[in-house]
């Protein structure tokens, strides 16, 4: 179980500091695929960096703590300060742009051998790597290639192979398929799901495509303007979302065979520079009332294992615009 307790991440800038993640508390059970969704700038990637322990200036963990629930070799619990020593072995990261993450002047095989903590016998490591990438559907020749000689899908598979090679307890995937087309995307997502099933570890998947989340995840976290606004089992979140923002996210994309007009979500998230009072979604929310603008809603458990931060949680959005009551 990973526990985030009131985590605040701030970026120092010339104009003062700004909180990109502002008081997020979560408990993520082991062995789940947690999807993280929200618009650009809502804090998804910053949250990933925090959990990964990649906290570098100008970003800082301003408040709160993260417990990973796993111990190191000496039985000490691993914290956000020490997690960096366990990169790749206990926790790993699949970035969005594989091209920018692989070293362009080193062959793929050599990049595998460079892992910190890998067996010093390089031949043996390469042997294991060769066997492993075969299982992921990559030809052995991939190891002799330079990154630019591979297609985007193959490079992403190489990144997944690297991230899963040591069977880490936790894998963070930040938009792993956004740069790929649909056919390759499906392959990569299916591969991730299969690996998760074999290894039983936890995956955190960031994506802004709700379709991807529906296909892959078992739990969902929806973020809006640096806050967690909904968290729960995917089944429940997709069947009956509690927060109006979640409902709008799910409804914003068209589906084949459905000719209803889609509008997207009008307006834009509030600037985090200004002082924010009440619910941060109130300005774009069709259900907003005076209470929403003055009192900030807390993340409350409305159904078993299904949390939302909304004063009007569960009220239906009528297609005609006005709110209808459930």
């Amino acid at each position: 179980m990973i526990r985030l307790d009131n985590v605040v991440a701030s970026y120092r800038t010339g104009r003062g500091s700004i909180n990109a993640v502002d008081g997020v508390s979560l408990e993520i059970p082991d062995g789940c695929i947690l999807g993280v969704a929200g618009e650009s700038g809502c804090g998804k990637s910053t949250l990933m960096k925090l959990i990964y322990g990649d906290v570098q200036s100008p970003m800082a963990l301003a408040a709160g703590s993260i417990e990973y629930g796993f111990a190191d070799g000496r039985g000490q619990p691993i914290t956000s300060q020490t997690i960096r020593q366990h990169w790749f072995s206990r926790i790993s990261y699949i970035p969005q742009s594989s091209m920018n993450s692989l070293n362009p002047v080193v062959r793929v095989g050599s990049q595998f051998v460079d892992f910190p903590g890998a067996d010093p016998d390089k031949k043996r490591v390469l042997e294991q790597v060769r066997a492993y990438i075969g299982k992921l559907g990559l030809p052995v020749e991939t190891l002799d290639a330079y990154p630019h000689q591979l297609s985007g899908g193959m490079r992403q598979r190489v990144m997944i192979a690297m991230a899963t090679f040591f069977q880490p307890d936790l894998i963070l995937a930040d938009e792993p398929t956004t740069a790929l087309d649909v056919v390759v995307q499906k392959d990569i997502l299916m591969l991730l799901m299969e690996l998760q099933e074999q290894m039983g570890n936890t995956i955190l998947l960031v994506s802004h495509d709700m379709g991807v989340h529906y296909q892959v995840t078992t739990r969902m976290l929806i973020m809006y303007a640096a806050k967690a606004v909904e968290y729960g089992e995917s089944e429940s979140v997709f069947r009956a979302p509690l927060h109006p923002y979640t409902r709008m996210l799910i409804d914003s994309l068209p589906t084949i065979g459905d000719d209803r007009a889609r509008d997207g979500i009008p307006g834009r998230p509030p600037s985090l520079w200004q002082e924010l009072r009440g619910c941060r979604f109130a300005d774009r929310c069709p259900l907003a009332t005076a209470r929403c603008r003055s009192e900030e809603p807390a993340l409350v458990e409305h159904r078993p294992n299904h949390f939302a931060a909304c004063h009007h949680a569960g009220e239906l959005l009528a297609p005609s615009g006005g709110p209808a009551w459930q």
Binding site: S151, V182, V183, L253, P254, I256, G264
Partner: protein, 273 residues
């Protein structure tokens, strides 16, 4: 009926590698496409990366010379035998929108200077008229000229900047707008604003669109016709609803099966195989 878009035996071969060890890539392989209509249409070209859809767009925009074949837009030959040089008439009739607006505009220039330049050089306005035309085009995409003037690209969100680039394309009053992956860089929750804008421009201003995408769901949502491309070949073409409801080609079915929807879940690969 007017020919909106026609390609006849369009081929494009790229050569890679050195003089002695060259390799050929057929980006377009005998592409024959014919769209005739009296009303404006939105034609989508879908396919995965490397299917030749961008090469097709570039050929129509005259950024790429075809190896053989001919392309016609609104009864005017734009590529192949019988083509005339690029003139104002062509620039005014066919306008592009590119994938990444942050790359389409320079970081070191204000974006309204692009609007002005298009209005003066392509649409033939004078200075005062150019400002008017820019304001009108921005209003058509839901932006205010006062909010755009004097700003640089980093002061816009991706969706806003893409709307500015649509406004720029609208200034000369083109009959066809070629949009190459116009929403793939834009946040999913705001994609529909751009997509709905295309539809409105078609219905109200009478613009036709060639919409290049790998997102079949939005293609279904706005298109009148869909062309499916795979490895440089046009594998299926027809009215959008017909193609998506009853795909004839195996590749179209593969594309449709790969879309992550919120309706039905993918079956595990082992069970599917």
């Amino acid at each position: 009926m007017a020919v909106i878009l026609r390609t006849e035996g369009l081929n494009k071969v790229y050569r890679l590698g050195s003089f002695t060890r060259s390799r050929e890539i057929r980006a377009l392989n005998d592409v024959n496409l014919n769209v005739e209509s009296d009303t404006p249409v939105i034609v989508s070209v879908v396919g995965e990366s490397g299917s030749g859809k961008t090469t097709l767009a570039k050929t129509l925009l005259r950024l790429v010379q075809p190896s053989s074949g001919r392309a016609t837009i609104y009864d005017r030959v734009v590529a192949g035998p019988g083509v005339r040089g690029i003139d104002k008439q062509f620039l005014a009739a066919v306008q592009p929108i590119f994938q990444n607006p942050f790359e389409a505009f320079s970081r070191y220039r204000t974006v309204d200077s692009y609007l002005h330049e298009t209005a003066i050089r392509v649409a033939g306005h004078d200075r005062a008229g150019a400002t008017d035309a820019s304001a009108k085009a921005l209003a058509a995409v839901g932006l205010d000229y006062a909010d755009v003037r004097g700003k640089y690209t980093n002061q816009f969100s991706g969706g806003e900047l893409q709307r500015v680039s649509i406004a720029r394309a609208l200034i000369p009053g083109p009959s066809l707008i070629v949009a190459d992956e116009p929403v793939s860089m834009i946040d999913a929750s705001r994609r529909m604003i751009i997509i709905n804008l295309f539809r409105r421009l078609k219905e109200e201003a009478g613009r036709s669109f060639l919409y290049i995408t790998h997102d079949l769901a939005t293609a279904y949502y706005i298109s009148d016709y869909v062309a499916v491309m795979s490895k440089g070949t046009l594998v299926e073409f027809g009215p959008a609803r017909q193609v998506m409801a009853d795909p004839q080609h195996a590749y179209t079915r593969l594309l449709l099966d790969s879309i992550p929807t919120t309706r039905t879940r993918w079956r595990p690969r082992k069970a599917a195989a």
